[in-house]
Symmetry: C2
Subunit: 162 residues, 2 copies
DNA sequence: GATGATTAAATGCATCTGCATGGAATAGTC
DNA sequence: GACTATTCCATGCAGATGCATTTAATCATC
């Protein structure tokens, strides 16, 4: 069972690992230099702000963000500590709770998007034509284990799942 | 300076983050289930085994693997603890040292490649034609901040830089 | 409506990471 | 050759992560 993957497949694997690491690091660094928290915080705030009522169950957030349960739990801790979100009792299911984004949370999300979008443009957009970006999407989607949510994101957004 | 990146660029960014995470996790899980250590160990062992003398300076390893200095230092610690590599004195420069791969290290690298290559085939190769894999390489390379080492890897290898 | 299985969320513990600093050797400058 | 700057590597510490377990509530079945 040796010599399985083609040279091309192996090369693609290596590129995928390297380039993602590079680009992610670059974007995270830009955000950090601008004084912002990690991208995961942005993702969580975005999900919360998108929710019609501004609140989600931790389990839902977990599924949206593709994060392990304990990781979500602790991320929420930090958001709450910083006053960006608040835990609310869940009356229908007393095991659970709701996490609600605060006004400060909404503001931070918007401010971060400004820096975040600039970083995306700098490290991705400026290096690829729109047509090529779409080709890249298509190829990457083939690798995604049915990771749909296929639609392109609405404007003013962005997510990362990391 | 708002609304900078195109929808396409943003979509590509999201795919890149998500798909890489998914694929990496899948491959790491396969390796772990087969009882192997993390991919970073493989990368280090591969670099060492490729060196003509079977030894490298930590600084060189660091550059090859694109890892922070302290991270390399601790990775070497673990390899040495497990008997996969050994530290050797460096006589030309007494600040430094050499790290030499052991026989056990070479064996582990080969065994891991067997599982690793199968995982690459399963999670990448089988989902993309060779032609598409090359297209993907081309697009990703455009994002790499001049992350050359452009040549396709020789057979029986693979690296990841994470 | 009691009982066992399942689900929601938190947390203790060991490990890993990032960051900053430290010590030791070398290189550069005058 | 003394002095400063730089390079190589290790490490203390704080925070983050993975894993397993715990607590509490709900569900399913009888």
């Amino acid at each position: 069972m040796k010599r399985k993957p083609s040279t091309e497949a192996t090369a693609a694997w290596i590129r995928l690992m390297r380039v993602q690491t590079r680009v992610l690091d670059a974007v995270e660094q830009d955000l950090k230099k601008a004084g912002f928290p990690p991208l995961a915080w942005y993702d969580a705030l975005l999900e919360l702000s998108r929710a019609p009522t501004g609140e989600l169950r931790p389990v839902e957030l977990e599924r949206q963000m593709l994060l392990p349960q304990y990781s979500t739990s602790r991320l929420i801790d930090r958001l709450v500590d910083e006053g960006l979100a608040a835990r609310r009792e869940c009356k229908m299911d007393k095991r659970g709770q709701f996490v609600e984004i605060t006004e400060a949370g909404r503001e931070l999300q918007k401010k971060m998007w400004s820096a975040y979008s600039a970083a995306i443009e700098k490290h991705v957009g400026s290096k690829l034509s729109d047509a090529d970006a779409m080709k890249l999407c298509g190829l990457l989607d083939r690798l995604g284990c049915s990771c749909s949510e296929a639609q392109l994101p609405a404007i003013g957004e962005g997510a990362s799942a990391r």
